[in-house]
């Protein structure tokens, strides 16, 4: 297996709610150009393109049909990967496998979403409708009462599903909804320091978040992610080609990738649900230990200097660092300011998914942001002040059942 470096990250522009001025190919193309601009390579040096977004969210099932020319894929292999929220990082892993395996020297990976052309809630409905519709065969209560089968899911669409996880997490961590307020406030404040973040709220406070309406207890509007438009592109290069193609001495080396999956947790109505959505053993006991083993990391709390976790909902920014063995109790840590950009374990200096969520890009943005931190190139004041030798990026997807992890560092692993 070869070592692989991330030599460039490109965003199309700042992530925003609507881009009426461009279509999907036009939105993605500048991200490709921006990523290439920061290298010494020509487009023809790219060996393979791996791409992904959420199927059905824009109502277009094969979007790459329409933008293959805009990304310069003519004559090259194109792979499309989609795994729900983890899509962006699964796409990244796909590109990594292509280069690490020796099949290609250079891979370009693209994660994107253009939410203003579709409907995220309808896209999500397309995931659960067959299961929900099956209930109609078993005589649900259609009277609007509390009877079995109908009205079981929490309010606010996906927020309802996440709120089960949030309460289960809080019960275990002995936290309160106010801890989620604090975490969301930190995220939105961090986003204000990231020129590419969508919801920027300088100096946001927990009190600001607590004023937003409750959607599905304990989750408020201020705890939930927006729907954003944007694209993220990264260029991955084999170790022996780094000097030739990288335009910087500080590249981010991929030290480990790991992923694991489980049954659908929360929302499984027709087969008994066996997994607590806040337990996440697939992360804590499978993916995270595997990633640390591959990266040669013995003590993640000390050897990793920052993390970017997938926090579609603010309680997840508390939960995931615990499951990743980076923090013992996040509720205590946020109270003590230890998760801030200048804290001992900065969590989501970029503002995270709760501030910017172009879903197909979001898990890749976690790797991109972790890489920029290692390269010392995070713009606008969200660069972690101490030297980042190792950074961890995380994604989750499906019904809380997929987890992806990538560890990047300032030097390659000796294999």
């Amino acid at each position: 297996m070869r070592n692989v470096a991330i030599i460039s990250v490109g965003y199309n522009d700042r992530f925003v709610a609507k881009r009426p001025d461009v279509n999907i190919p036009e939105m993605i193309q500048p991200a490709v150009a921006n990523a290439l601009k920061k290298t010494k390579m020509k487009h023809s040096d790219i060996g393979v393109v791996v791409e992904g977004n959420m199927p059905t969210f824009e109502g277009i099932n094969y979007p790459h049909l329409w933008f293959s020319d805009h990304i310069g894929a003519a004559g090259k292999p194109v792979l499309r990967i989609s795994t729900g929220g983890t899509t962006g990082m699964s796409v990244f892993h796909g590109g990594y496998y292509c280069v690490a395996s020796g099949m290609f020297d250079v891979a370009m990976v693209i994660g994107w979403e253009k939410h203003d052309e579709g409907d995220a809630q309808v896209g999500l409905m397309g995931i659960v409708l067959p299961e929900a519709f099956s209930l109609f065969q078993f005589g649900p209560d259609m009277s609007g009462g509390r009877g079995g089968g109908m009205g079981l899911l929490g309010g606010g669409g996906s927020t309802g599903g996440a709120s089960f996880q949030a309460l289960s997490y809080l019960a275990k961590a002995k936290g309160t909804p106010e801890h989620i307020d604090k975490m969301a406030a930190q995220a939105r404040s961090n986003a204000a320091k990231n020129p590419y973040a969508h919801l920027q709220h300088p100096n946001c406070t927990a009190a600001d978040i607590a004023k937003t309406p409750m959607v599905s207890y304990p989750l408020r509007f201020g705890h939930t992610c927006p729907t954003s438009c944007g694209a993220c592109v990264m260029i991955l290069v084999a170790e022996e080609k780094v000097k030739k193609f990288a335009d910087t001495d500080r590249v981010a080396w991929v030290k480990a990738v790991a992923t694991a999956s489980s049954d659908a947790t929360t929302g499984n109505l027709i087969d008994g649900q066996i997994n607590d959505p806040a337990e996440q053993a697939i992360c804590e006991k499978i993916a995270a230990p595997k990633a640390y083993q591959l990266a040669g990391i013995q003590n993640p709390k000390k050897e990793i200097q920052m993390c970017e976790v997938y926090d579609g909902f603010a309680h997840q920014e508390l939960m995931w660092p615990e499951k990743l063995h980076l923090v013992d109790n996040s509720c205590k840590a946020i109270d003590e300011g230890r998760l801030a950009i200048d804290g001992e374990m900065p969590v989501n200096p970029s503002g995270g998914v709760v501030s910017t969520n172009a879903i197909g890009a979001s898990a890749m943005v976690r790797v991109a942001e972790a890489s920029l931190q290692v390269m010392g190139m995070a713009e606008g004041g969200h660069q972690v002040p101490r030297r980042v030798k190792n950074a961890l990026a995380h994604g989750w997807g499906g019904l809380f059942q997929f987890v992806t992890i990538t560890i990047v560092g300032d030097e390659p692993v000796k294999r």
Binding site: D21, V22, P130, P140, M142, G148, F164, I274
Partner: protein
């Protein structure tokens, strides 16, 4: 940073999903509602690892083997997690607040979803004992499940 070009045109459409024909086994749900006729809560137990699922799938998700042993579990259990529905699927406030719960019934390893009947949602907590209430006259339908009530 955004360039305000207004070059694209918006074309609206809806996706017609009426021709899709999803097939789902839902065998465990059938077992569950048939059990309601006799006011029993029925699930399936894995003969290898002993996991009890309610509703019970026809295979064990831990052992990946077919399972057929039917077991009855208690109507009583503990709230594993819950949420309070204060908004609809679009985030608009709802008129009637409801509490959705996932309950681990005694004798089952899985969680079952339902709604909790309670006067004040602020009294709900993880670990709270609750009981599944069935209609007085059951017919073998999901509607036989009236609600969960705190014990």
């Amino acid at each position: 940073m955004q360039k305000e070009k207004k070059e694209t045109r918006q074309v609206s459409d809806i996706l017609d999903m009426s021709l899709l024909k999803w097939r789902i086994e839902a065998d465990g749900l059938e077992l569950l509602v048939q059990g309601f006729k006799e006011k029993k809560i029925l699930g399936r137990k894995c003969h290898k690892c002993g996991m009890v699922y309610v509703p019970g799938p026809s295979y064990c998700r831990k052992c990946f083997i077919d399972i057929q042993d039917v077991v009855e579990v208690s109507k009583k259990g503990k709230i594993a997690c819950y949420t309070v529905n204060l908004a609809d699927v679009r985030g608009n406030p709802v008129d009637e607040i409801s509490v959705a719960v996932q309950v681990k019934l005694d004798g089952s390893d899985s969680w079952m979803m339902g709604q909790l009947e309670i006067d004040d949602w602020k009294k709900v907590h993880v670990g709270m004992p609750a009981e599944l209430i069935l209609r007085e006259e059951t017919t073998g339908a999901l509607a036989d499940m009236v609600c969960f009530r705190p014990i």
